[in-house]
């Protein structure tokens, strides 16, 4: 590694340490830190919640990082696919009741149906709209995916109105110790996200198609020479990305409220994650997601008016990391 490269890695480390130190400093200064055991437990709970949330972030962040990594396309509609996933889950959750059966479908079980749908949707978007513009100027896919996103928002709004929905799934507290509680739904979501992420990770590492995807991400020309059908890899990649986003949507639906316009915040989070982790870097994205989620929670917990500044954490991360080391935490420098 070059001298300058090493300097940048250190600088990035310092930046992240500073980002994490800031809420503590502000908290101490503004009297939001109490030096007792109870507060320490609260702090642990907050970090734990961040970790759990980070798991879900990671899952749809990985989806975007796959798409960006393989095709260098900025998919601005990623959050909208998350939103769509939440709606699909909600519809299936309620479907038996509307049919007069009087029971609900388990939201986790619905993934068996929603993920293939999302995969097919992503596949179709890539096939019809994006395959022809991969490798061209970045503006084209940017506009196309934004167009897809805005059409999706309004289509969903037209069908389901702008009402908020939520699925009251496993709403109780999970006792970790006497004083530390987290939501059961959060634990379940995290476990689910971890399982799915791990599955995709193993797929990429071990399966022939997964290896082909990684090869394409590294160098499409070489991949093509090696007999990989790059166009098909693109389709699978976008499908996979969409499926991951939609799985994220299912997990969002059992934790939070959602409406057609909530997608954009997930897009931003996913952007922050891929920038933090590095283009196309799977483990980097997971690390970035957890860092981001914990940081957000710390800001909200200790900074006065912190919940208004949560978004700031994501944007500071995006701009700061891009300026210091555009390839992110674990990414490799592009040539």
């Amino acid at each position: 590694m070059e001298q300058a490269e090493i300097r940048r890695v250190y600088l990035l480390g310092a930046f992240i340490v500073a980002a994490f130190a800031t809420p503590f400093a502000v908290g101490a200064w503004s009297g939001n830190i109490f030096y007792d055991r109870q507060w320490l437990m609260d702090l642990i709970t907050v970090c734990l919640n961040g970790l759990l949330q980070g798991g879900v972030y990671a899952m749809y962040g990985v989806g975007l990082t796959l798409i960006f990594g393989v095709m260098r396309i900025i998919n601005v509609a990623h959050g909208e696919i998350v939103m769509l996933g939440a709606y699909l889950t909600w519809v299936l959750f309620n479907a038996p009741e509307y049919l007069g059966l009087g029971w609900h479908l388990d939201p986790l079980l619905t993934m068996v149906i929603t993920l293939p749908i999302a995969f097919a949707l992503g596949f179709a978007i890539q096939k019809v709209l994006l395959n022809a513009v991969v490798g061209g100027p970045e503006l084209t896919p940017l506009l196309i995916t934004f167009g897809v996103g805005i059409a999706m928002i309004n289509l969903v709004e037209w069908i389901f109105t702008t009402d908020y929905h939520t699925i009251p799934y496993q709403p109780d507290a999970f006792h970790i110790t006497e004083t530390i509680f987290v939501g059961k739904n959060k634990i379940i979501s995290f476990a689910m996200a971890l399982a799915i992420s791990l599955g995709v990770f193993l797929f990429l590492k071990l399966h022939r198609l997964g290896k082909a995807i990684r090869a394409t991400a590294q160098n499409p020309e070489v991949a093509m020479v090696c007999g990989i059908d790059v166009q098909r890899i693109y389709l699978v990649t976008f499908g996979l990305g969409a499926a991951l986003a939609s799985a994220g949507g299912a997990l969002v639906s059992i934790q939070f409220g959602f409406n057609p316009e909530t997608g954009v915040q997930y897009t931003v989070v996913a952007f922050a994650i891929i920038v933090l982790g590095g283009r196309g870097h799977y483990l980097g994205a997971m690390l970035g997601a957890v860092l981001l989620a914990v940081l957000e929670n710390l800001v909200s917990f200790m900074v006065p008016n912190g919940s208004a500044m949560v978004e700031m954490a994501a944007y500071t991360m995006i701009v700061g990391v891009l300026l210091i080391r555009p390839q992110g935490l674990l990414g490799v420098k592009e040539t």
Binding site: L129, G147, W158, V264, M312, I318
Partner: protein, 312 residues
């Protein structure tokens, strides 16, 4: 191009100007603001075109300049009792300052990373404006003193549009513009062929920031109410992008035609269909991006009605 051709275009512009100068006296308040907003979109599209159309750096957060311009103006008018016209100049200076602050680091990034960083910068500024309550009144927004100023804002916007068109015309027909284009085509080659790319990008970025800042100020004084979510809306960036793409990016006439047609269409036809009109907007965005990379001007070129390139 010969100077006679320059003169001919100037004559067209003059005739157009006379028409626009007489127009507001013939029409009511609503249509006056309608034309005013059309001109605003022309300004925004042309400005976006200067950085993104010519240099190819996709400013995916260009609304930030519009936002800070409108906030600078509104704060001075509402909280400090300034008359509104001088606040536009302050807005321009603030826009310029923000452009330098953002541009200096961010313009070193390339391709998608620049776009993402601009998005982050714009959205981050929105949050900052929201949180900085003591200055901006946060989510409350700012109410400006209630006056009927459709005539004044019309002429302010007209003047701004004329300046923007003239500057764009100069950019589009000078070696400055060609060199910006060279950066878009091949930054490394441009640098090796004598273009101080850092300086040129910075100049183009600053230039493209000033006009939206002023336009934002005028808009704030016409609308008389602004809030962070409205002034820093991502959709505004997308709309300027779409207008420029639709007309033809990297040309002078393209963004003008794109802005006028699209705004007209949007306001006259699409608003009639709630829900559908944004679905149509999305579909239109896809179609333009996918099938009209050179926009309307490109179609003209393909049919041989227009010459290729920007200088002749």
């Amino acid at each position: 191009m010969t100077s006679r051709e320059h003169l001919r275009y100037l004559a067209y512009l003059g005739a157009f100007l006379v028409f626009l100068a007489v127009l507001p006296f013939q029409i009511g308040v609503y249509y006056r603001s309608f034309v005013m907003f059309t001109m605003m979109w022309v300004v925004l599209a042309l400005s976006w075109n200067i950085i993104s159309g010519y240099t190819g750096y996709i400013s995916f957060g260009h609304v930030v300049f519009y936002g800070v311009g409108s906030y600078a103006s509104a704060i001075l008018v509402a909280d400090h009792g300034w008359p509104w016209i001088p606040t536009l100049l302050v807005g321009a200076v603030v826009g310029l300052a923000v452009a330098i602050l953002i541009g200096y680091p961010v313009l070193r990034l390339k391709g998608p990373y620049f776009a993402i960083a601009m998005l982050g910068a714009a959205e981050g500024t929105r949050v900052l404006v929201t949180v900085w309550d003591s200055l901006t009144h946060g989510g409350l927004g700012i109410n400006l003193p209630n006056v009927e100023n459709s005539m004044e804002t019309y002429f302010a916007m007209l003047a701004l549009m004329v300046v923007t068109i003239l500057v764009s015309y100069w950019v589009g027909h000078s070696r400055f513009g060609i060199r910006l284009n060279a950066i878009r085509e091949d930054e490394l080659a441009a640098e090796a062929l004598g273009v101080n790319t850092t300086l040129y990008k910075m100049a183009a970025f600053s230039l493209s920031a000033v006009f939206p800042a002023i336009a934002g100020g005028i808009q704030a004084n016409k609308t008389l109410y602004i809030n962070p979510d409205g002034e820093f809306l991502l959709l505004i960036t997308i709309t300027m992008t779409l207008m420029t793409m639709f007309g033809g990016k990297g040309t002078v006439i393209g963004p003008i035609v794109g802005a006028i047609l699209l705004y007209l269409f949007q306001e006259v036809v699409w608003v009639k269909f709630p829900f559908f009109h944004l679905i149509m907007f999305g579909a239109f965005l896809i179609l333009v991006a996918r099938f009209m990379p050179r926009g309307i001007v490109g179609l003209f070129i393909a049919r041989g009605w227009a010459r290729k390139g920007m200088v002749h």
